[in-house]
Amino acid sequence: MSAIPADSAAATATVTEETITGPRPPISRRVKQRLTSRGATAAAIIIATLWTIPTFGLFISSFRPEDAIQDSGWWTFFSNPQVTLENYADVLASGRSSSPNLGQYFINSLAIVIPGTIFPLVIASMAAYVFAWGRFRGKDTLFIFVFALQIVPLQMALIPLLSLFINLKIGDFQLLPAGTYAQLWIAHTIFALPLAIFLLHNFISEIPNEVIEAARVDGAGHATIFWRIILPLSVPAIASFGIFQFLWVWNDLLVALVFSGGTADVAPITQRLAELTGTRGNEWHRLTAGAFISMIIPLAVFFGLQRYFVRGLLAGGLKG
């Protein structure tokens, strides 16, 4: 994953080199661009700076010693640089009693996000296949209904879903006990389905008819067609939605607050971080490092797979 940003950095480097030393565009075009863009470039740079500084300040601070963070602003770092990894060690270590123990929560986030992405993708692909290629009465109506479910805010489902999970018992055996990941996986899967089915259906229905007919003539059943033809051909759509869902689950707070129970056994890192800002809002050495640990994975996904991410966003604005 890290190879991709490095590549693109190299690419931009060569581009600037070329513009300095390489062949120049014809004068008329250059002038035209200059005239319209000098003030605009300045404005763009101001916006870009404004948008970057908050994150940058936090990033710098996460490497400063606790005393330095508390006694002086992060901008003094440049006149008096002091670098330490102590903040990161402190928030990750599980041995120390005062540590927020973020390492464990980080693992919880991973444990939540992997099934939380795979489950809806598979279930939605199956449904999308039937909606695209199956023949049955009421298909269109049902599809529109599923699509329309996107407008139900997940807030509307939280209270009843929680009590359903609690009451789901066989005898005394609780099927989905609190304090496991199961409730979170299922909740995230449910909330992802309407959008996932809609997007994947759009893609799967574009697959040429001949491909599927040819497979049927060869005697392939639906299961074979689905796994051998539909899924491989749908990889771009699956990737886009997969990344979108991955980031959505990783960054979620509301579903976690309702279904995780908040313990170090289950709760994701976002929930822990939110808790820390409430209870230890002035321990900036911990908050800064903790915030960055929570952002590492999404930022890596973002910089590595930006193109797919954008595509997912373009298609998936209605989720939530």
């Binding site: 600037t16 444990a111 599923v146 909740a187 409430g278 809002g281 604005g317």
Partner: protein
């Protein structure tokens, strides 16, 4: 570390069970007698999604609607929850704040995002400039909350400031300010965080739309001597109208549901609560599920017209094409 192992055993078991269920469906579908194999496929492939949506979304939404008309003991209480929402001062503040959010965030994010997209269009280093503004989109709202709490951090006047904004105030000779505590302007400082996140979204989509404007039109306008502003007004904006609608409606819906930012930065205290946050507080902290459900219902009713409008516009565009 054994903890680590145990957690991944949980994940592994879950994935195995899931694979087993899906595999079983596939097997049954393929082995079904030829005469109703197609029917079996339809049922088998739709079943998991249908069951989950029915028990997890449709049922709960209906239940919540009924719950909105009950009190904390689950007895029907007519419109009491809604009367509470529209008369109690603290609930009214919540509604007012939501209104402020929903007007300011889509408006400012779209305007700034559009301006930025136009400014950097075909500029040198466009990709990098885009990534900088787009990056907040990938950060969780909790992370964004921490980032901005640090920007707003407050120290008494005699101490050295550690928050950038207060330091700027001091440098320009002002007094440091409790940005997140002083109502009512603190709501605006929370709104700024959402604008910071959503501008990147607006910019990316509008930039894609701008690149789709046919070059000939732009060239023709240039030859006619149109100024940059005239080009922007009479060519760029009308050409990307569809994208603008999508951006504004999408951000509006996202803003109506905003929860994490308020939760992380003020927890809804100091008169900063919004509907989605109040819904959580009432239902899961204050033990008032009826009020929480009523707020969720209001949220649904607020989102509804935006979605319908959006769907209509999309349909119109499809028809034109």
């Amino acid at each position: 570390m054994e903890d680590f192992g145990e957690k991944f055993v949980q994940v592994g078991v879950a994935l195995a069970i899931f694979a087993g269920v899906v595999g079983l469906i596939m097997l049954l579908v393929d082995r079904a007698p030829k005469s109703f194999r197609d029917k079996a496929t339809v049922v088998g492939f739709l079943l998991p999604a249908a069951v989950l949506l029915a028990i997890g979304l449709v049922g709960p939404a209906v239940q919540t609607t009924f719950l909105a008309f009950t009190d904390r003991n689950g007895d029907p209480n007519g419109l009491d929850n809604f009367v509470w929402m529209f008369t109690q001062p603290e609930a009214l503040v919540t509604l007012r704040n939501t209104l402020l959010w929903v007007v300011l965030v889509p408006l400012l994010s779209t305007v700034i995002g559009l301006a930025y997209a136009v400014f950097i269009d075909r500029a040198r280093g466009e990709k990098a400039l885009k990534a900088l503004v787009f990056m907040p989109m990938a950060i969780s709202m909790v992370g964004a909350g921490v980032i901005w709490r640090f920007v707003y951090a407050y120290r008494g006047g005699e101490q050295e400031q550690i928050g950038l904004l207060n330091q700027l105030l001091v440098w320009f000779g002002g007094e440091p300010k409790q940005f997140l505590l002083d109502a009512p302007e603190n709501t605006f400082f929370l709104i700024a965080v959402m604008i910071w996140i959503q501008t990147g979204f607006a910019m990316v989509i509008l930039s894609a739309a701008i690149k789709g404007i046919p070059m000939e039109i732009v060239e023709a306008a240039r030859l006619d001597g149109a100024s940059a502003w005239q080009q922007f007004r009479s060519i760029t904006v009308p050409s990307i109208r569809g994208a603008l609608i999508v951006v504004v409606t999408t951000i509006t819906i996202g803003t109506l549901k905003v929860f994490d930012i308020v939760r992380t930065m003020t927890a809804g205290n100091f008169e900063t609560s919004v509907v989605a946050n109040e819904m959580y507080t009432q239902a899961f902290r204050a033990n008032e599920p009826g009020r929480g459900a009523a707020l969720a219902l209001v949220l649904f009713l607020m989102v509804l017209p935006v979605v319908i409008y959006n769907a209509r516009q999309l349909k119109k565009q499809r028809e034109i094409r």
